[in-house]
Symmetry: C2
Subunit: 199 residues, 2 copies
DNA sequence: CCATATTGTGAATAGTGATTCACAATTCCC
DNA sequence: GGGAATTGTGAATCACTATTCACAATATGG
């Protein structure tokens, strides 16, 4: 059956989405032109009408992830003004995103694993640093307000923050969805907060 | 130049080591028979004299990692009797291992990424659960001693513990060794400890 | 020292996935 | 309605890697 024609802009979006799902399901190595074509309902060669190649598709996925990540921070900034509630809210959102869009963590981990230092990865690196920096800023704000102990290096707190998400997201996936990531946020947050604030 | 002959037992060890280094350098996808052969100083086909195939080599790597991981826990147990110092010591050792044997984290992440549910992975899963369980046990002991707050779910604490290592190890690698993982342990531990103990 | 098992080598095979290309169908615009 | 541009198709090519195999060199034990 021949696929009906669609504009390149539409196909590009479909392809990027399909690629993201594929990565979410099987990691970076699970991403193949054949797989993408199947999901979109095309023949492999048709993909090349809309992207120059696999690399270009990956770039598109990266861009997607980056925008979602930063949008996340933005909306948390808008929601709550105080540092600690902000962090907590960001934690919830970050975790939820990892769970519903596994492609994220896969790409990050794949990035980590990749030996080749293509420019493609540097953009992701950028995204990650930017995100970490956002967390650092929130921590610094909390220290200025007196809500967070001043003797904690903000970067340390930020890395620990990431550490609240990463293993939980991995366990969630490894357990096939059994691990309750929301509950982990619930019970881990007080411990983290106490570490940030108590005397 | 022809390689000098060596016993299979020796070659097996060399091959497993080479495989571990390769994975450490380029992730699971960086592991190839050609790469192994180069490192050991053999021709690719010679590898098959000592291992049935790539899968078998991987199994050997897994076994290596497992034994090192568990040995780690054992020696920490022997070193210090109290829960909190034990955790701290384990944290240091765990981090050091991640830094000097990147293969470990790569395999874990690759495991996470893999779609296929081969038996091979279940053994790794086993190792990871066992490790997590060890941490849980230490935490429980601390709660029994009164050193750790009883209202913290031990599993939560254990997952957070892993979270102290994972992101730091990744940053270390992503930064090309610039990130000071030991310093991170140094500054993150007090925060974590305070979260576990303070009133 | 020699028969034999063990180990190493190079070439050949096979499967996978990305990419290209000439051609066919579809849509758009006049 | 009829080009012309756009999009989809199937086959072919290419590169890469695991794996096998017949043969060569080397070690080993009697």
């Amino acid at each position: 059956m021949r696929a009906s024609k669609a504009e390149t802009a539409v196909r590009q979006e479909q392809i990027a989405e399909a690629a993201m799902d594929l990565i979410g399901a099987g990691g970076l190595s699970g991403l193949s032109i054949v797989g993408i074509a199947e999901r979109v309902g095309l023949v492999p060669s048709a993909v090349y009408r809309h992207y120059k190649g696999k690399e270009a598709v990956l770039d598109a996925v990266m861009a997607l992830l980056r925008s979602r990540m930063l949008a996340n921070v933005e909306s948390v900034r808008a929601e709550t003004p105080e540092a600690l509630p902000r962090l907590r809210r960001l934690l919830e959102r970050h975790m939820a995103m990892m769970v519903e869009k596994p492609a994220f963590i896969h790409v990050v981990l794949a990035h980590f694993s990749q030996a080749d230092h293509a420019e493609r990865w540097s953009s992701l690196n950028n995204t990650m640093c930017a995100y970490l920096q956002e967390v650092v800023r929130i921590v610094e704000q909390g220290q200025a307000d007196g809500a967070i102990r001043p003797d904690i290096p903000p970067r340390t707190a930020a890395v620990m923050f990431i550490g609240l998400v990463l293993p939980a997201a991995m366990l969630y996936r490894l357990s096939g969805g059994k691990f309750d990531s929301a509950a982990h946020v619930e019970s881990a947050w007080p411990v983290f907060e106490r570490g940030l604030t108590a005397n």
